[in-house]
C-alpha cells in the first residue's frame, strides 16, 4: 500500500475541507477502501478519518422517522432491537451482508458508497472503462456476476445489500458537501454511470453521506429481503430482492420492489409494483409481477440465469409476504 497522510476530522465541516485537498479519500470502516488501496486501484495521498464526527453517529427514533447515522456499523444495524422490530427487511439485509468481522467494522455510509466487485475493475493491471479506460472488458469477457438491466457502459452491479432494503423503505439520504448538500431520496442517490460521469452515486469528491432517515411504516406494512448467493453465507448477492408492501385489507396498497445484483444501481421494479397494486396477491399474480420485473432484461453471455433468478425471487418474496 502506498503511504499517505492520515488526518482525523473532528467534525463534518473539517472533513469536507480536508477532502477538497488533492487526492484525498474519506475513511470510515475501511473494509472496502483498504482492499482497493492494497491493489493500488486507489492511491490517495491523504485519508480523512470520519469516525470522530458526531453528526454521523447514532440511531435515533424521531417520532415519524428513524435516523441512522452513516457511521453506524452493519453489526449495530443487524442487532438493533428497534430496527429488527419495525424495519425487519433492513435487519435481514444487514444480517446477510459479508462476515461478522466485516460487519463489525463496515459502516452504513461505506456500504452505500462501496466500489463495484467486477473482477476487471478490481484487477490492478487493467484500466477498464470505469477507471477511465476505453473498454468495459466484462461485456465481452466473463460476465456471470454482471448486470442484466440498465444498459450502462459499465456493466458491474451495485453490490450493497442495505441499499435495496432502504429504497424499499423509502429512505432519504442526508448529504453534506460542496457539490451536493441536503436530503435526497436514496433511489436518486444512485446513478448509472455514463460518459459524462463515470461513477455510481451523485457524490462529488468532497461530499459525504451523513446518514439516512426512514419514514415510519404503516401498521399494515410488511417487508422481506431475499438474497441469492453462490454459497450460503459471506458472499455478494447474485440477485437480491427487497419488497415492502402496505396492505389495504386483503389488497396490496402501495408496493416497493427493489432488486439488487441486476444493474449498476439498485433497481426499482416499478412495472412489477404496478402489477400487484390494488390487487389480492396469489400465485399467478406473483408470477406475473416476477415476469414484469425482468421484462426489459438484456443478459450477456454468462448471466442469463439472473433473469430467471430475479423473476423467481420476486415471486417468492411476494408469496412469503402473502402467507
Amino acid at each position: 500500500m502506498k503511504n499517505f497522510e492520515y488526518v482525523s476530522a473532528p467534525n463534518l465541516a473539517s472533513a469536507i475541507t480536508q477532502l477538497q485537498g488533492s487526492n484525498s479519500k474519506a475513511l470510515a470502516g475501511g473494509t472496502d477502501l483498504l482492499t482497493e488501496m492494497k491493489e493500488r486501484i486507489k492511491t490517495p495521498d491523504r485519508l480523512v478519518n470520519l469516525k470522530s464526527i458526531h453528526e454521523m453517529q447514532g440511531v435515533r427514533d424521531d417520532k415519524d422517522k428513524l435516523w441512522i447515522g452513516a457511521l453506524t456499523t452493519l453489526s449495530e444495524i443487524e442487532s438493533h432491537r428497534f430496527i429488527a422490530e419495525r424495519y425487519p427487511i433492513l435487519a435481514q439485509a444487514a444480517y446477510l451482508t459479508a462476515s461478522h468481522q466485516l460487519r463489525n467494522a463496515g459502516t452504513l455510509g461505506g456500504n452505500l458508497c462501496q466500489s463495484v466487485r467486477c473482477w476487471y475493475y478490481r484487477h490492478p493491471d487493467l484500466t477498464c472503462w470505469l477507471k477511465g479506460g476505453e473498454t468495459c472488458y466484462a461485456q465481452e469477457g466473463i460476465n456471470r456476476h454482471h448486470a442484466i438491466l440498465g444498459n450502462a457502459p459499465c456493466i458491474a452491479v451495485q453490490p450493497s445489500d442495505l441499499a435495496p432494503a432502504l429504497i424499499a423503505l423509502d429512505a432519504v439520504v442526508r448529504l453534506k458537501g460542496d457539490e451536493v448538500d441536503g436530503d435526497l431520496s436514496l433511489d436518486e442517490f444512485f446513478v448509472l454511470p455514463d460518459e459524462g460521469l463515470r461513477q455510481r452515486t451523485v457524490l462529488g469528491k468532497s461530499d459525504l453521506v451523513v446518514g439516512v432517515s426512514i419514514p415510519k411504516p404503516a401498521a399494515s406494512s410488511r417487508g422481506i429481503y431475499l438474497k441469492s448467493m453462490e454459497r450460503e453465507d459471506w458472499s455478494f448477492a447474485l440477485v437480491s430482492v427487497a419488497v415492502q408492501l402496505n396492505f389495504a385489507g386483503s389488497k396490496v396498497g402501495t408496493a416497493r420492489i427493489v432488486l439488487g445484483g441486476v444493474a449498476g444501481k439498485p433497481w426499482r421494479a416499478k412495472s412489477a409494483e404496478a402489477v400487484i397494486q390494488g390487487k389480492v396477491l396469489n400465485d399467478s399474480l406473483a408470477e406475473e409481477a416476477g415476469a414484469a420485473a425482468v421484462a426489459g432484461a438484456s443478459p450477456f453471455e454468462h448471466n442469463g440465469y439472473k433473469v430467471v433468478l430475479a423473476k423467481n425471487l420476486v415471486k417468492r418474496a411476494l408469496l412469503e409476504l402473502n402467507k
Partner: protein, 163 residues
C-alpha cells in the same frame, strides 16, 4: 487535529499491556502485531479481508486486522491469540480444538479460535448454527469445519462448568 504521514508514535493496548510503536499510517494492525510487536500468532493469509486468518478482537469484537489501520487502534483494547493461555494452561477453546481434532495445517486456527472466543464471551450457550455463523468469516482450506463446530460446543460446555 491529528496529522501524520511519516512515522509517528502510536499507543496500543494489546493483551492488557500498553505498547508504543513508531509506524507509518499505512501500517495495518496485522503488520503492527506481527512485525512491530513480534506477536506472530495472528496469521497473514490473504491480506485482503477474505480468509479470516488475521482475526483479532478489537474492543471484544472480531475484526480483520489486515483491514484495520494500526493508527486507528489508538486507545482500543486489542486481544490476540497470545492472550488466551494463562499460566501455561490452555484456554478451554484451545483445549477443545486439540481434543476434537479441529485443525489440520493449523494456519486458520488462531483466527477460528478468536471468533469462537468472541462468541462464547457473548453467548455461553450457543447452538450449532450460532457457531457456524460466528466462524463464517474464517475459511479453513483443510476443511476441518465439522470438528471446529464440535470444538466450540465442547468449549462452551467446559466454560459453563467453570473452565
Amino acid at each position: 487535529m491529528l496529522k501524520a504521514s511519516a512515522k509517528s508514535l502510536v499507543q496500543l493496548q494489546v493483551n492488557g499491556q500498553a505498547q508504543e510503536i513508531s509506524i507509518e499510517p499505512r501500517r495495518t494492525l496485522l503488520d503492527a502485531l506481527r512485525v512491530d510487536l513480534g506477536l506472530t500468532g495472528t496469521k497473514k493469509g490473504c491480506d485482503e479481508g477474505t480468509c479470516g486468518a488475521c482475526t483479532v478482537l478489537k474492543e471484544g469484537k472480531p475484526v480483520y486486522s489486515c483491514l484495520t489501520l494500526a493508527i486507528e487502534c489508538e486507545h482500543s483494547r486489542i486481544e490476540t491469540i497470545e492472550n488466551l493461555a494463562k499460566d501455561g494452561k490452555m484456554h478451554p477453546v484451545q483445549f477443545a480444538f486439540i481434543e476434537q481434532d479441529a485443525l489440520q495445517c493449523g494456519f486458520c486456527t488462531p483466527g477460528q479460535i478468536m471468533s469462537i472466543k468472541a462468541l462464547l464471551d457473548q453467548n455461553p450457550k450457543p447452538t450449532e448454527s450460532d457457531i457456524k455463523r460466528a466462524v463464517t468469516g474464517n475459511l479453513c482450506r483443510c476443511g476441518a469445519y465439522p470438528n471446529i463446530v464440535k470444538a466450540a460446543l465442547s468449549a462452551a460446555e467446559r466454560l459453563r462448568r467453570g473452565g
